[in-house]
């Protein structure tokens, strides 16, 4: 299958480690991946608060570029950022449901010789790895199993809601199954799709931090060694503000937060440098020391 890569703006800055680790994992698994040429911003949530039609046109340009670049027209556009993934799937959904919006967008695209047909499938790397590539093949390639590592799998909001079809909208399991295939232990965690606060940590921080805190506290209470995410904004929120949460709310949160592709890369034996592990503020330990003789093994 032919995959085109849509990094999105975040993976060029705050999400750089996500970019690096994803490329490394795809390479290690020998899945060909080619970057979409001259992609533009998807529009994110902010653009939709100002001008809806322009936002759809922005997103549609990317879908159309993918159609052109893939040659046969049936492109698989891989968008790792949750917000991009949502906006691109939403645009497809809207343009199919509302032909008049589609016509408006196409009138604008026609001006520069582009035309949106709707043949591109927007995919999340989690979906590609678990459903196209397959967990069996992944576990066969594991070099350093994550033995005993308790992992809190955090999906966030926008990868599974509301247009995605590859997993459940409220209690997804793809990442948990992936962690199992890597030899780790996913913890049972009902908050895995609860909102981390999104951009509120930058705008109304007092509220944003409280949402992040609820997630971190609960993951810690359930004895997670590490929390993994599939969204650059979630990773930023959950990792960067732990100190501030502890100071402001007298808490004791200390939980490494990494991208799921980083954890995967470690298990596949890719050197940490290539996975951007050095960019994390709270360095995770990927191996759990074996319990001493006579010590109870935690369940």
């Amino acid at each position: 299958m032919n995959y085109l890569y849509y990094p999105g703006c975040s993976l060029h800055s705050t999400g750089r480690a996500y970019h690096e680790s994803m490329i490394a994992v795809f390479k290690a698994l020998e899945i060909p991946l080619e970057e979409l040429d001259d992609w533009n911003c998807c529009g994110a949530t902010s653009y939709f608060s100002i001008d809806e039609t322009e936002a759809f046109a922005l997103a549609a340009r990317n879908l159309e570029l993918a159609e052109n670049q893939s040659g046969n027209g049936n492109a698989n556009l891989v968008a790792p950022c949750a917000a991009c993934y949502l906006v691109l799937t939403k645009t497809q959904h809207y343009l199919t449901t509302y032909p008049d919006i589609k016509n408006k967008v196409n009138d604008a695209l026609d001006k520069v010789g582009l035309h949106y047909e709707g043949k591109t499938s927007v995919r999340h790397p989690l979906d590609v790895l678990v459903n196209d590539y397959g967990l069996e093949e992944i576990s066969r390639r594991v070099k350093k199993p994550l033995k005993g590592l308790k992992v809190a799998c955090y999906y966030g909001c926008q990868v599974v809601r509301p247009f995605a079809t590859f997993d459940d909208a409220l209690y997804p399991t793809s990442m948990d199954r992936l962690v199992k295939a890597l030899g780790g232990e996913p913890i049972d965690w009902p908050l895995k799709t609860r909102c981390c606060g999104g951009s509120l940590t930058g705008t109304i921080q007092e509220v944003g931090l409280r949402l992040s805190r609820a997630l971190l506290r609960d993951a810690q209470k359930r004895k997670a060694d590490i929390l993994i995410t599939c969204c650059p904004l979630c990773q930023h929120n959950l990792e960067c503000y732990q100190g501030r949460i502890n100071r402001k709310m007298h808490d004791h949160i200390d939980l490494p937060v990494a991208y799921f592709t980083q954890l995967m890369g470690v298990a596949l034996g890719i050197p940490e440098k290539e996975l951007g592990i050095q960019r994390l503020f709270n360095k995770p330990h990927f191996t759990v020391e074996a319990p001493m003789k006579g010590e109870p093994v935690h369940a």
Binding site: C9, S13, I101, C157, R161, G202, L211
Partner: protein, 215 residues
């Protein structure tokens, strides 16, 4: 809600004198904007708005409802009934983080998140939002940046946001910014696409198309 005050009553008790206003607490039918509901429902995915059964599932599932001035269920009801001023002035629409939990749970399949977007656009267009509230400022700064460059550069966006809302906050945030910079997680060089002219032609054509369909 600005409602008429009818009288003031002074209640004296042992501890203090209190002034209380006698106010009409409800709005009369005549004071509502009866077209408002239909107007919002006309936006993309708004059409099911009128079928809300007021079950409150959205408010229960919303992670932000306890910070909101009106819960999502109330916003839906008030929009439908024409409480335009109250809804557009509310913080609820700006607190909505677009997490879509309400949408997947709503028994009437109402796209509540998109109703919130429609209300945000309406509030910005009619100048209702609080001037220094950072959320619409962020949205606008983002909009302008993407329009110009085709991509967003987070460092520029944040500097822009803090300059317009709270310059002191920039110093508070600068330590985190520096750490991100050192970890290679932030870049100061603006990210741009190559064919910027192409993008701006598309966006201009969208506006032109809108003008044509209106007249």
């Amino acid at each position: 809600m600005i409602l008429p005050t009818f009288a003031f009553i002074y209640s004296n008790n042992k501890h203090k004198t209190e002034k209380k206003a006698v106010v009409r607490r409800i709005k009369y039918e005549a004071e509502l904007d009866h077209n408002f509901g239909e107007h919002i429902a006309a936006h993309a995915y708004g059409e099911r708005l009128m079928s809300c059964i007021q079950c409150g599932t959205c408010s229960a599932t919303c992670p932000l409802s306890h910070y909101m001035d009106y819960t999502p269920r109330k916003v839906i009801a008030m929009t439908r009934e024409g409480f335009k001023e109250e809804v557009l002035n509310s913080l609820t629409i700006w607190l909505c983080a677009s997490c879509y939990s309400c949408v997947v749970q709503c028994p009437r399949q109402i796209h509540i998140t998109d109703v919130m977007y429609a209300l945000k656009r309406e509030a910005i267009a009619s100048g209702y939002f609080p001037r220094r509230l950072p959320i619409p400022v962020l949205a606008k700064a983002f909009f302008n940046l993407v329009k110009r460059n085709g991509r967003n550069t987070e460092s520029w966006l944040l500097v822009n946001l803090y300059m317009r809302t709270n310059p002191f906050k920039m110093f508070k945030e600068s330590i985190l910014g520096l750490r991100l910079l050192l970890a290679g997680r932030m870049s100061l060089i603006p990210d741009r696409i190559k064919r910027r002219a192409e993008l701006s032609t598309i966006l201009k054509a969208v506006q032109a198309g809108k003008g044509a369909s209106k007249s």
